[in-house]
């Protein structure tokens, strides 16, 4: 058990790699293989899938002692959550509400990723950024994104 635990990171990486490889092989099985002379759409993916399985096996054989994989710290987790939310919020609101509300919201969310930024500061930053963006991209460059 200790053998596995000491090499957890490499083993984990190898298992994922093998999983992706097998998935590619299975999915490629749905396409015509063809022959070497006239390769079908399934040929190249199958080669790729198998090479990933082989690489995974090599990784497993040569797995090194690394200790347990490092977990992300609290700051990182917070950053990840809010930055992802910012992009998601932009994607969900841009077409319905336009640039100014959408950018304000996404900048506000992104700024909350850092503990030091107060929500009010984020909101003001968001509004300013949104207005500047609308001026640059809508008026200046004439992109086809509505402001409201």
């Amino acid at each position: 058990m200790r053998f596995v635990f000491n090499r957890l990171e490499d083993i984990f990486a190898a298992v994922i790699t093998a999983g992706i490889g097998i998935f590619i092989i299975l999915e490629a099985g749905n396409y015509r293989m063809g022959t070497l002379t006239s390769m079908g759409p399934g040929y190249f993916p199958t080669i790729l899938g198998w090479s990933m399985v082989v690489l995974a096996a090599l990784m497993l054989i040569t797995s090194r002692v690394t200790g347990a994989p490092q977990m992300a710290g609290r700051d990182q987790l917070r950053g990840m959550l809010f930055v992802a939310a910012a992009f998601g919020a932009f994607a969900l609101t841009i077409e319905r509400f336009g640039m100014i509300p959408s950018i304000t919201l996404s900048v506000l969310l992104a700024s909350l990723a850092n503990e030091r930024t107060k929500p009010l500061v984020g909101l003001i930053l968001g509004l300013v950024t949104a207005i500047v963006c609308a001026l640059i991209f809508r008026l200046g460059l004439g992109l086809q994104i509505k402001a409201f």
Binding site: G21, G79, G88, A91, L92, A110, A113, N114, R116, C133
Partner: protein, 508 residues
């Protein structure tokens, strides 16, 4: 000789046009601006600024992208010297001696020498580019699909194995990239592969979203939560106080020359590029130096040589990209991707068919580097002030610009989600110590390598042995195979040794 002059004249008409100058300037300016931000590397800068160039005509788009690229590498070293917060590994080497110089109050001299060394290296690289690309493309015109498959394999494998401590993982990254590149309609059969019924995926994954996701998002997230920002060691940064002493000059000239040569050599090779060039040139300088003990404590050679090497490599990397259509590193993969988006098929015919594009680009590199010299010497104070903007207020704005940038490429909301997905993929890969750069290289080359492989086998009627019958293809494949075997064997040997030692440690 006549043709060289007429070619340069042709390049001048393209690069010195009003729009040529404007987009060149815009490129180097924005490249430096984003590159100087701590923690944002060259790839992230390039990926985030790429959408702007999509609305330009191809020559201008490449001029601007080129400008962003070498602008970002100038900017990266500024952050590295003043704050020891390099965005990329290449500028980390500059920081080894640049940051100690800044701590000793010699930031000005370090920045000045960086700018000069970068300029010298760049110009040397451009001369190589102008001299070697045309003959190389003539040779390459005779290449068939076999040679292309071999060259692409060499590029992919060299890029993942050389200079990477974990070559198996990099090979996995390349394979994953190749597989992701297959998503979409198969050109030959019209079958939709790996699309899972999603019609938006029929055209394949959007390059911009993939690149920003892999490179930009993890860098934004990594620095988003950062609470403390290192102090900026600026010292006196006005042009007069920045001037290096006579001693500085004397000590820097030879390192710059050696760095340029080393950079030009490694830059032109597939798969090595700036990173290997900077490390090698730093190591060479330390070895030939009369006072090696000063390295790491503010030796000016340690700033001049890697900078010259890096920038020389940056320019030389364009040689295989433009003359063969084969990118040596992920940055060049992006360049190639952009060419394809604009409908240019990369390869030796580009130089023959559109000399205005090639020579316009070459001349614009010289002009862009001159602009950078001005932007970085008299105006360096401006970048220092940007470094002082509180980062927690800066990055939400970067997020906003990135959102608009990615959305403006296709006006597709899906692209934003693809970006997010690849952002998490990039984070996951980093957590497990996979490099993401080989993935991007595989992603761009995937469809091309499949197509050439298919063609090679059609031409030779399915005979896989035909690769061995062609001397050029066979020797390239032999080199590739040797690199591969060396990587796997050295890994097997060291894994056994180190693990036994460490396990004894961990259990003892």
């Amino acid at each position: 000789m006549d043709t060289l002059f007429s070619n340069i004249a042709l390049g001048l008409t393209v690069a010195v046009s009003l729009s040529g100058l404007f987009y060149c300037f815009l490129g180097v300016f924005l490249g430096t601006l984003v590159g100087v931000l701590p923690g944002i590397g060259i790839m992230a800068t390039l990926a985030m600024l790429m959408p702007i160039t999509f609305h330009l005509e191809p020559t201008l788009a490449l001029i601007m992208l080129g400008g962003i690229y070498y602008g970002a590498s100038y900017g990266g070293s500024t952050a590295s010297i003043l704050m020891n917060l390099p965005g990329t590994a290449t500028s980390a080497v500059t920081g080894l001696d640049g940051y100690p110089m800044a701590q000793q109050g010699r930031a000005g001299q370090a920045l000045f020498m960086t700018a000069i060394a970068s300029f010298v290296g760049s110009i040397f690289g451009v001369i190589l580019l102008a001299g070697f690309s045309v003959p190389l493309s003539r040779v390459a015109l005779r290449f068939g699909p076999h040679e292309y498959v071999a060259l692409m394999l060499l590029g992919l494998i060299a890029a993942s194995v050389i200079g990477s401590g974990r070559s198996l993982r990099s090979l996995v990254s390349v394979s994953l990239g190749l597989a992701l590149g297959l998503i979409g309609l198969d050109l030959n059969s019209g079958v939709a592969r790996f699309t899972f019924g999603q019609t938006v995926l029929f055209d394949g994954l959007p390059l911009v979203a993939v690149a920003i996701g892999l490179f930009g998002l993890p860098e934004i997230i990594a620095s988003a939560g950062r609470k403390e920002i290192p102090r900026v060691h600026e010292g006196k940064i006005r042009l007069r106080e920045m001037l290096p002493t006579r001693e500085d000059w004397k000590r820097s000239i030879m390192p710059m020359a050696r760095g340029s040569g080393i950079g030009g050599f490694f830059g032109a090779l597939p798969g090595t590029g700036g990173l290997v060039a900077t490390f090698v040139s730093y190591a060479v300088e330390r070895r030939v130096s009369k006072h090696p003990e000063e390295f790491g404590n503010g030796a000016i050679e340690g700033v001049a040589a890697p900078e010259a090497a890096n920038n020389s490599a940056v320019q030389a990397a364009f040689i295989p990209t433009l003359s063969l259509g084969i990118p040596g590193d992920p940055v060049m993969a992006i360049m190639l991707g952009v060419m394809m988006v604009h409908g240019i098929i990369p390869g030796p015919t580009v130089i023959q068919d559109s000399p205005d594009l090639f020579w316009g680009l070459v001349v614009s590199f010289v002009i862009g580097n001159l602009m950078l010299l001005v932007l970085n010497l008299p105006l360096v104070g401006m970048w220092v002030r940007i470094l002082k903007i509180p980062y927690n207020l800066l990055f939400p704005v970067i997020v906003a610009f990135t959102c608009i940038g990615i959305y403006s490429v296709n006006y597709q909301v899906v692209d934003v989600f693809v970006l997010l997905g690849f952002g998490f993929l990039g984070l996951g890969m980093r957590a497990l110590n996979f490099e993401v750069a080989p993935l991007l290289l595989g992603f761009v080359l995937g469809p091309m390598i499949e197509e050439y492989f298919r063609r090679a086998l059609i031409v030779s009627r399915g005979d896989i042995g035909s690769f061995a019958d062609r001397p050029i293809a066979a020797s390239i494949l032999a080199i590739t195979f040797a690199i591969l075997v060396w990587a796997v064997v050295s890994r097997l040997v060291s894994a056994g040794k180190k693990s036994r030692a460490k396990e004894a440690d961990a259990n003892g």
